[in-house]
Structure formats: C-alpha cells, structure tokens
C-alpha cells in the first residue's frame, strides 16, 4: 500500500527527513517513532505530497500512485479517500458549525460515493460509535469520539491506508486504549494498512508489526517491533527505552 525508497526531504538545503526504505502492506501496521524534531511528521506529510516548499527526492508510491509525479487531480483522489490522514486533534479540522452527519455526507458526495444512511451508520459502527452522534456538532463530542469519527470518515470513503500522526497523544489513557482498540479492529477485520507516527514506544510496541526509529531526520534503526524494542542495536533506541518512566 505504501512503498518508499530513498526518500529525502530538504528545506532550503537542510535534510529534515531521510528514509531509505519504508513499506506498509495491507493489514500491516508500521510505526515511525522519534522525539520532536526527528522528522517523523515531515515523512508522513511527504507521503501524501503535503509538504510545501520542500525538495523531495526518491520514490513514493501510495496505493499504487507515484505521489511525486502524479497529476494533482489523481493525488487528490487518493488523499482523503484511499489514503486517509488522521491528526492529533481532529476537532480543529472539522468545521465547527457543521453536524458530523453533514460533514460525512458532503465528504462522500465529494468523492462520488453513495451517501446513504446505511453507509454512514455502518462506518460509525465500525469504529464503535453510536450513529446517533451524527446529529451532533464537533464540539459536542469528546476528543476520543472525534478521533474515532475521523476514522469512521476514512472507512466510509473506502480508505485502504490510514496515516495517523500522534492520533492518541492528546487523549486520556483510558480513551487512548479505546481508540487503539478500534485501530486494531479495523486492521484485523478490514485489512487496513496503518502507518503510525508516535513518540510513545510502549504504545507502539503493542500495536505495530515493524518500527522505524528516527533521530534528527535520519532512520537510526528499523525492523520488527519485537526485535527492535526488545534488543535495540542502536544506542539512541536504547536511550529512548531507558528514558521510559
């Protein structure tokens, strides 16, 4: 679903992200972990062609589309439907004056999909939300519900890949556990590919198949999650693990 080779993102000559290899297949979960300034978010944005003013080199394929060379129209069709981006606080991205149901219906129509009640209710149920919430406004739902609505939107639009940037770090731990549960379910039941950007090694270890550890724009270590986190080979990964409270 995602295939990256020799990705290099530069801002004004400075390399902010250098990722030699990153693959996420259907039903797989790959996590990029690192601290602030490590380039993990930049990498995620580059995958969807969302960096502006950046020089990007290398090969990026998302859902079979070459992100760097595809015409903008083709790219827009991928973004938001087959590849969905989930951010830290979705409430900011949802228009405050529009009910969730209207938001979802508009998004469905925009991508030329049937916007029936059944489709919408099914998407809500897939993320364990009560379809009655569709009548609410964004500020009337909790942070965890908003995050799950963002996932429901992705499901309704037929997402095959979800790119999530710290999707649970603004949430309480108990709510985080619920959202993580939903992500795991979507992966198992629908074969969704998941690319997760996070600073939380423990969280990542419970959900990801593979991890990339980034520091100052470079991938310092990558491999199966169990191996990397149980027996880290790079001193920085070890430092991260030891720092965990």
């Amino acid at each position: 679903m995602i295939e990256v080779r020799d990705l290099r993102v530069r801002y004004g000559g400075r390399v902010v992200a250098d990722v030699p290899e990153l693959d996420v297949g259907a039903g797989e979960c790959v996590a990029i972990v690192g601290e602030s300034g490590s380039g993990k978010t930049t990498t995620l944005l580059a995958l969807l062609g969302l960096t502006t003013d950046a020089e990007i080199s290398g090969r990026i394929r998302v859902c079979g589309v070459d992100v760097r060379t595809a015409p903008p129209r083709r790219l827009r069709a991928i973004r938001g439907s087959r590849a969905a981006l989930v951010m830290q606080s979705p409430q900011a991205a949802l228009g405050p004056a529009t009910r969730l149901g209207v938001l979802m219906r508009r998004a469905l129509r925009l991508h030329g999909r049937p916007a029936t009640r059944q489709v919408m209710a099914a998407a809500m149920e897939a993320v364990l939300l009560d379809p009655a919430l569709l009548r609410r406004y964004p500020h009337e739902v909790s942070g965890g519900q908003a995050q799950r609505f963002a996932l429901a939107l992705a499901i309704a639009l037929g997402a095959e890949v979800i790119l999530a940037d710290e999707p649970t770090s603004a949430l309480d731990v108990t709510v985080q556990a619920e959202v993580v549960g939903v992500l795991r379910r979507l992966r198992a039941e629908r074969g969704l590919a998941l690319l997760l950007v996070s600073h939380d090694l423990a969280l990542v270890s419970t959900i990801a198949d593979r991890v990339l550890v980034m520091k100052d724009g470079a991938v310092v270590e990558s491999g199966p999650a169990g191996e990397v986190l149980a027996a880290p080979s790079h001193p920085y990964t070890r430092e991260l693990l030891e720092a965990m409270p």
């Binding site: 801002y11 902010v16 602030s36 978010t41 930049t42 003013d53 950046a54």
Partner: protein, 282 residues
C-alpha cells in the same frame, strides 16, 4: 512539524506586507511634511487678495482658496492639526481605556463588572452624536475636538484590553507571579500589559484613520478647528460651495484625508500580521 510549519509560513503571500510598507511610507511622508511645514510650505499661510481662487499651476501647484491662501501650504499646516488631533485622541483614550481595561480584565469579579458597565453606558450612545453634543456644549476649538472624540473612543479600548487581559491573566505565568507574592499592580504592569499590548496597538493604528475622519467631520460641521487654523475637514467645508466652479479647493484636502486614513488602515493590518505570534519568525 516545525519544518512543515516553516514552509507553510514561507508560502504565505507577501502582498499585505508590501501594502503595509506603502502605508508606513505615506504616514512617514505625512508626518515629516506636517513637522516641516514652515520650511516646506511655498507660501506663508496668510490671505492674499491678489491671488484668490487661482487654479493649480506653476505658481500654486494645488491652486489657492477664496481668500488667496496657497492650498498646498494649507494642507501642510492642516496636517499638523489633523495629526495632532489623531495622536492626542488616541493617547488620551488608549491611556484611559487600556488602564481601566487591564484592571477589569485582571481583577475580574465585581470590579470588572463595575468598570464594564460604565464602559457600556458610554458605548450605548451613538459615538458621533455624543461627540457632536460635547462639541456643541464646549467652545469650538481643537482641544474640544480631542475631548469630544476621546470620550467616545476610550470605551472600545477598555473593552478590548479587558478581554485580552482576562485571557492573559489565566496564563500560568501570571499564576506563577501571584504565587511569588508579586503585588497586583506590578503583575499587571510586568506581565499582563506587555502580553496584551499587541491587539491594542493594532487597533490604535487601525483607528488613527477613523479619528482623522471624525475630526474632519466635526470641523466640517463647524464644531472643531476654527479659522484661521488650517485643518483638512475645515478646508473641505469652506470649499464645498465652490466645488462646481473651483474643484481644487475641496478635492486636495479631501484627498489628504482619504490617503492618510487609508495609510493608517493598511499599516494597522500590516502590524496585525507582523505581530501575530503564529507568524513570528524566530
């Protein structure tokens, strides 16, 4: 993320900044011209019976008025009056409004309620009517204009400062200062004022144009500056009957008002963008 943000920032259009630079340039020119009026003016600001109502030409670039005064000279001297009024009104109303607003916003509770109700009373009157009423009661003069406008202007600053100060006062650095036992007036002066100032400064520069227009309106109605003081609004008023026959008498002072008011507006917009912390460059 920071890199992505930086790129977003760089991607913003630069045009407003250029407009703001233009506004700043115009204001600098107007201020310099007003300050240097006695040296720049081509003629003394006195009637000349031999030169009445000359059209713009080589001798009088902008023509002369009905008593033979050079219009360019009058505009230069009039700029002094108009800018003085603007500065005086803004200084008086900002000082009063911001002080009351900061106290109200920081203190909260009953003190805030009292200050804000008083403010509301002043805001309940239509501004121009209140100014007019004051100007009618007091003898017409430049000082009257300043007072009359300032009375209707300060409540806006009080309201703005109160709402900004209330939000600044909830920041934890204010709590931290309170926990150190720093007295309230010092907290307001050291922490609340500096962190509330940006929106107030922007508002002040946006308002300068409005003050000049209001002052011109009062003078135009004969309630402000009096002959022989040069003032742009007064010049427009005196020239209006001549508009069809001697257009220059009205047009140039009118343009001076328009251009200066516009310049202050774009400067205000520019300031707002420049001082917006989200766009601040490290």
């Amino acid at each position: 993320m920071s890199a992505a943000e930086a790129s977003l920032r760089r991607g913003l259009p630069r045009i407003p900044d250029r407009l703001a630079a233009l506004g700043t340039a115009i204001i600098l020119i107007v201020v310099l011209a007003a300050l240097l009026a006695p040296w720049l003016a081509p003629y003394p600001d006195e009637p000349n019976p031999l030169e009445q109502l000359r059209p713009p030409g080589a001798d009088h670039w902008l023509g002369t008025d009905s008593v033979g005064r050079d219009i360019l000279t009058r505009i230069l001297y009039g700029g002094r009056t108009s800018l003085f009024i603007a500065v005086a009104v803004l200084a008086v109303s900002a000082l009063a409004g911001v002080t009351l607003g900061l106290v109200a916003g920081y203190a909260g509770g009953p003190l805030r309620d009292v200050i804000m109700r008083v403010t509301d009373v002043f805001l309940a009157f239509p501004a121009l009517l209140l100014s007019l009423a004051m100007a009618v009661v007091l003898p017409p003069s430049v000082n009257t204009v300043v007072l009359a406008i300032a009375v209707t202007w300060w409540p806006w600053y009080a309201r703005l400062a109160a709402s900004v100060a209330a939000s600044v006062s909830t920041r934890s650095y204010v709590d931290a200062a309170r926990c150190l036992g720093v007295p309230a007036p010092l907290i307001i002066l050291r922490h609340v004022l500096p962190n509330s100032l940006t929106p107030v400064l922007v508002q002040i520069s946006l308002d300068a144009g409005g003050v000049i227009l209001t002052a011109a309106a009062l003078s135009y109605l004969g309630l402000g500056a009096q002959e022989p003081t040069a003032e742009w609004g007064l010049m427009v008023q005196q020239g209006q009957t001549l508009f069809t026959t001697n257009w220059w008498v009205v047009t140039f002072p009118g343009l001076a008002i328009l251009v200066t008011a516009f310049a202050f507006n774009v400067l205000g917009e520019g300031l707002r963008n420049a001082l917006d912390p989200r766009r601040a460059v490290r």
